[in-house]
């Protein structure tokens, strides 16, 4: 029961950023509710997978594939381009912290001199950021790449 509550709270707190950033990207009003659901689905899936000791990269990939499939269904139903749903939905999964830390490490190396710790931190954070980003991109693209063999528009 406690686990379920935890999941619900996490889902709620990941739906808020999806809607907030969807507003920054000026998503049409009718699509906002779907962005909220997409955000909750993406984050909860990754959270659940990571509970089962799946590494964060693979978990992100599977979660964003799921978001891609769901968004594909929505976009065919409501005739709206997929990125409208998908990009707001994967906002909670983005490795923003890793990316900023990596670049700050790089600038610190310039200012304070190169040290093994800084290099380790830079490579750790930079690799995480790049791999998670590619995982997100591939995951989102996979469902539409799968349909591309018919050579006709998806919506």
């Amino acid at each position: 029961m406690e686990i379920l509550t935890q999941y619900l709270i996490n889902a709620l707190f990941s739906a808020i950023p999806a809607v907030g950033f969807a507003m920054v990207f000026n998503v049409p009003r009718s699509a906002l509710i779907f962005c909220a659901f997409g955000g909750a689905i993406g984050y909860s899936t990754r959270f659940a997978l990571m509970e089962f000791n799946v590494p964060i990269e693979l978990a992100t990939f599977l979660a964003s594939t799921l978001v891609g499939i769901v968004a594909l269904y929505w976009s065919r139903k409501y005739i709206v381009p997929r990125p409208v749903y998908t990009i707001a939905s994967i906002i909670p999964l983005l490795p923003g912290t890793y990316a900023f830390t990596a670049i700050i490490n790089l600038l610190q190396m310039n200012a304070q001199g190169v040290s093994p710790e800084l290099i380790t931190m830079f490579i750790d954070n930079g690799l995480k950021a790049v791999i998670i980003l590619s995982a997100i991109g591939f995951g989102l693209a996979l469902p539409s790449l799968f349909l591309m063999r018919y050579n006709r528009p998806i919506i």
């Binding site: 950033f21 920054v24 000026n26 005739i79 990125p83 409208v84 923003g96």
Partner: protein
């Protein structure tokens, strides 16, 4: 077969490239731009549409009269803040043209009348503040951390809006926004208000993570638009660097070492 004279075909070409440039400027992925241009073309009666995309411009040719008559045109695309409602409107117009057999004038008329769907400014500021605070919660901040993140990122979003209204370049406005967000978030460390100052500081700049160009760049690259992918990757990287410089400046001012 289709028999367009040269003037008609030029008009059709202008209509198609107008729609394509609008989509590129407001952040649609390349596949969607090319697809929409081709669908509009066949709906408006040309044989085929060939599109070449680079990050800053579009080159577009239409062929008609059994591929013997060709019109080519180029437009520069100035990148603007991402706006999905405009992309949706262009897409909707393309589908309308296909379904109801509209003509070129309808395309010009619709594009002229496209208005971005504006959300209330204060609502956006509030929602973005709440979003970053939610990130802080997800990363494990306490209540004080939650509130400080909310404050820092709301003010940052307000500043970002103000700079956008004054039409500053995106790189400058990202740097200044990151600087201000970090300054406000750092009160959690200076006055020991929160047990998790690191989380507060990372979460309050997350509103500047350029997710859209990054994801678009991967989507473009895997669908075969390699140069567009690189261009968008570079754009996103520059924005991240600008954000980091803003954060570093704030650290230097407060003489702190890092996260």
């Amino acid at each position: 077969m289709n028999n367009l004279n040269y003037e008609e075909q030029t008009k059709v070409t202008r209509a198609i490239i107008k729609a394509a440039v609008l989509m590129l400027e407001f952040g649609a992925e390349s596949k969607l731009i090319e697809e929409t241009a081709q669908r509009l073309g066949s709906a408006l009666g040309v044989d085929s549409v060939e599109v070449s995309l680079i990050p800053s411009a579009i080159v577009l040719s239409t062929l008609s009269n059994n591929q013997t008559q060709s019109v080519t045109t180029t437009r520069r695309a100035h990148h603007k803040p991402i706006n999905m409602s405009i992309v949706c409107d262009v897409q909707k117009m393309c589908i309308d043209v296909e379904k109801y057999k509209k003509d070129v004038d309808y395309v010009f008329e619709t594009i002229k009348n496209i208005q971005p769907n504006q959300y209330n400014r204060w609502l956006v500021v509030f929602m973005v503040g709440l979003s970053c605070a939610s990130f802080a919660y997800l990363y494990g901040a306490d209540l004080n951390g939650f509130l400080i993140t909310f404050l820092a990122s709301s003010v940052a979003m307000y500043v970002r809006h103000e700079l956008a209204i004054r039409k500053y370049v995106l790189i400058i406005s990202f740097g200044i926004t990151a600087f201000i967000a970090t300054l406000i978030a750092s009160i959690s460390q200076i006055y020991n208000l929160s047990a998790t100052p690191n989380v507060v500081m990372t979460a309050s700049v997350i509103l500047l993570a350029p997710g859209f160009p990054f994801v678009n760049s991967v989507l473009d690259a895997v669908k075969g638009y390699l140069s567009m992918g690189w261009g968008r990757w570079m754009q996103a990287l520059l924005l991240s660097v600008a954000t980091s410089i803003g954060i570093i400046l704030a650290f230097a001012l407060l003489s702190m070492k890092g996260w």
